[in-house]
């Protein structure tokens, strides 16, 4: 089985995984990081969204081996105003979409710290939520953007 070295939530990890294992399965089953969820397993629902080198991706559509030498950020590695804002605005109900939505929102704010409502909705278009109707999610992201220090990336 091939060996894999990567950085997850700031920590260097070295594992041995089968070539056909997805990044999602690596995170959940090998590393015990179950924040990223198995939803559709086909890249449509976004419940498996993690950041790889700062970019939001579907972990179900990457082989674990493709993350070699790269930096992966999961919800467990995040301490961000978005999380408190989601609590304050009751932006989650069942919570299943939450980790993916929050990471997609973080990636948006890292690239654009003053997004319009349309830009927020477009950035989150790959994260499906069956419970909330998205409006409180958008409000929470807007609050964090508004409160962020000027010029912060």
């Amino acid at each position: 089985m091939p060996e894999l070295a990567l950085t997850v939530n700031g920590a260097r990890r070295a594992v041995t995984v089968p070539a056909e294992m997805t990044l999602l399965a690596l995170l959940r089953e090998v590393l015990g990081l179950t924040g990223a969820k198995l939803g559709c397993d086909a890249g449509d629902c976004g419940a498996c969204t993690v950041l790889v080198d700062g970019q939001a991706v579907n972990a179900c559509l990457m082989l674990a081996m493709q993350a070699a030498g790269r930096e992966v950020l999961t919800i467990e590695g995040l301490a961000h105003p978005l999380q408190r804002a989601f609590e304050k605005h009751a932006a989650l109900q069942c919570g299943f979409c939450g980790p993916g939505v929050i990471l997609s929102a973080k990636a948006l704010l890292d690239a654009n710290n003053a997004p319009t409502t349309l830009e927020i909705r477009e950035a989150l278009a790959g994260n499906l939520c069956r419970c909330t109707g998205y409006s409180k999610i958008v409000e929470a992201v807007q609050e964090v953007a508004r409160d962020s220090p000027r010029g912060r990336t």
Binding site: P18, A19, G43, G46, N58, C60, L61, M62, M65, G126
Partner: protein, 285 residues
Amino acid sequence: MRAFELFRARDSRHAVELLARHGPGARLLAGGTDLLVELKAAARAPQVVIDISSVADLKQIALGDRGLRIGALATHAEIERSPVVRKMAPVLVEAVHSIGAVQTRNLGTLGGNLVSGLPSMDSGPALMALDASVILAGPRGERRLALAEFFIAPRRTALAADELLTAIVVPMASFGKPAAFLKLGLRKGQALALVNVAASTWLDAGAFKQPAIALGAVAPTVIRAPLAERYLDGRDATMESFAEAGRIAAGEAAPISDFRASAQYRREMIAVLTRRALERCLSSH
């Protein structure tokens, strides 16, 4: 997914060698947005997967003396952000922006979209309206094909089993040509096109010059609409000419009826989208 052997290509030469060594059953992994979905559903696994996703020499986007050369491994997100693509071929930016969602665009590649051979691909019409061509590399060397020659049938392209799509070239003659892309889907994001249309045209003293109309999702492959183009070429650009071109283009397509839409509805939408795309070309002139 069932087990397979994974080889990582160092560069495009190595990728071609690996393809030659492991035979026609080997699959190429670029963005994985089509391949991994397919492998998860497949009854049988390929023996070998060749990972080309980190091959740097296939990711370059650069202006050359032939035109704008986009490496096949450039992701849709990279194309959206590329200053040179935004300047020289903005219609391609519109097209790739409509693909999937942020996550799929961060992984999916332009080459992957083209080799899928899906008539509903979004990059195909935009590139065809720009007269783009593709570069294929194999053990016998490199060859260049116009997109119309590259697309053969649904899910079938001219790519041989031992070949790699290495680059897409937008010719210099298309730089600055007013163009527009429109996609009709059942929703705004993560949508498969019911119809997608790209149009491009120069204007000469108020008349169409070298108009190009490309239609997707309404024929076995992405197609041009040569009768509509011939109707427009040299004709004064008027509201009626846009509408008539749309009607002619609709007749050149062969849409199917499926659970998403009827053939009749798609035909009517070809006319609408073609008219709107031509209007957009004019307003951006």
